[in-house]
Symmetry: C2
Subunit: 206 residues, 2 copies
DNA sequence: TCATTTTTTGCGTGTCACGCATATTTGCGT
DNA sequence: ACGCAAATATGCGTGACACGCAAAAAATGA
């Protein structure tokens, strides 16, 4: 199943995606040419376009990959767990910081975060990021349909759930990034968001 | 306030946006050059880029414009109307078919719908459409914050509501377009979607 | 009517996506 | 271990595109 061929392909794709992010965070989006990314990944410029059809897509690749795991995580959840508890859990699983971030020395890390923020603010990238979310949402909807025994073709329900869940995560992450010195951990924000959504987002008392 | 200058500008923008959609639906996305769009709108190719920074943006313009009106519609709603009723109403207002669609003869209309479907399926356009939704969502969140007396800076609530409402509309529209011979009118689908969301999307009994 | 500001236009430049043909690498049966 | 077929990487060429810059044209207000 997982021959050398596929593994090498996945590695090349990952290398290109990582190089794209790395260079963009370092220099800014439009100071990076496709040629640079290809060089950093050790392949020809032409090969870049065999993997990604645009610079933006390469940068968004990691994001897409992570998002897709949410749907996979949901399928792994015990079948008797209530839907919204399972969704919350699946989402939370995606937000354990990876080792490559954890191991970063503090001054470098600060600089890195600044660069990442600039990258996320880049208008040319937002579209691609959103598209990645949309793709992941489709997977999530399928998983929800399975779990709840609803039908993607006839019921709006699974797509509504998937969209609401994606929105909850997105809003929580945004809230987290927007607050300069985050007093609230991302896990709590995500949990809160899911709780509110599952409660039907009632208007607060005035 | 609304001098000849601004009016002409708005007209040119609308003409370009409309021409972009029209040609794309007719011929397919990559059989349309920027030059064609400019010509159809009676403007130089260079001017096109004074209004839109990409072909995709031009096509998504009408979508963005309509989406922004939802936030405006919400502000027009009576202040004593319950939030979710107001949201549903504001969304429904955007879906009264325009005269240019209403007046279309049936065979042409069918062909048109097919073209529109192809257009919406175009990967190169999805990102831009989603970005438009994101922009509109920000406006909607602001309107929700106003109406509910919550704070955009500290509460996730208004953004959650805006995101959930946008999702409800998007899912309903998608459901409508996906069903070949729509037995369910779009108004009912939207109402249903909002009802489900406002109820907290409870898992259906199995 | 005239000066100022805004908009449109033409041109040049650097980048990019992608088709096509060729060289290289990988998988697999023998 | 070997060699063939399929998959993959590369080089080159082409058409399209975004955008900066400066000049022309149009609109506004006095």
């Amino acid at each position: 199943m997982t021959g050398l061929r596929e593994r090498k392909k996945a590695e090349t794709r990952a290398a290109l995606g990582w190089a794209a992010i790395h260079l963009t965070v370092e220099r800014g989006y439009d100071n990076v040419r496709v040629e640079d990314i290809a060089e950093a990944a050790g392949v020809s410029p032409r090969t870049f376009n065999n993997y990604f059809s645009s610079k933006a897509e390469a940068i968004a690749f990691r994001h897409l990959d992570r998002s897709l795991r949410t749907a996979a995580a949901l399928r792994e959840r015990p079948a008797d767990e209530p839907l919204w508890a399972a969704l919350t859990g699946a989402a939370l699983e995606q937000f354990t910081p990876g080792p490559e971030v954890e191991a970063m020395p503090s001054p470098v890390h600060t600089q890195w975060v600044t660069g990442v923020r600039a990258m996320l603010a880049e208008p040319a990238l937002q579209g691609e990021r959103l598209r990645a979310v949309a793709v992941a949402e489709a997977e999530l909807a399928a998983a929800v349909a399975e779990r709840t025994g609803t039908d993607l073709a006839t019921d709006m329900y699974p797509r509504l759930v998937a969209a609401a869940a994606s929105a909850a995560v997105a809003v929580a992450v945004r809230h987290y990034l927007d607050s300069a010195a985050p007093p609230t951990p991302i896990e709590r924000l995500i949990t809160d968001a899911f709780t509110q959504v599952a409660a039907g987002l009632p208007a607060p008392p005035r």
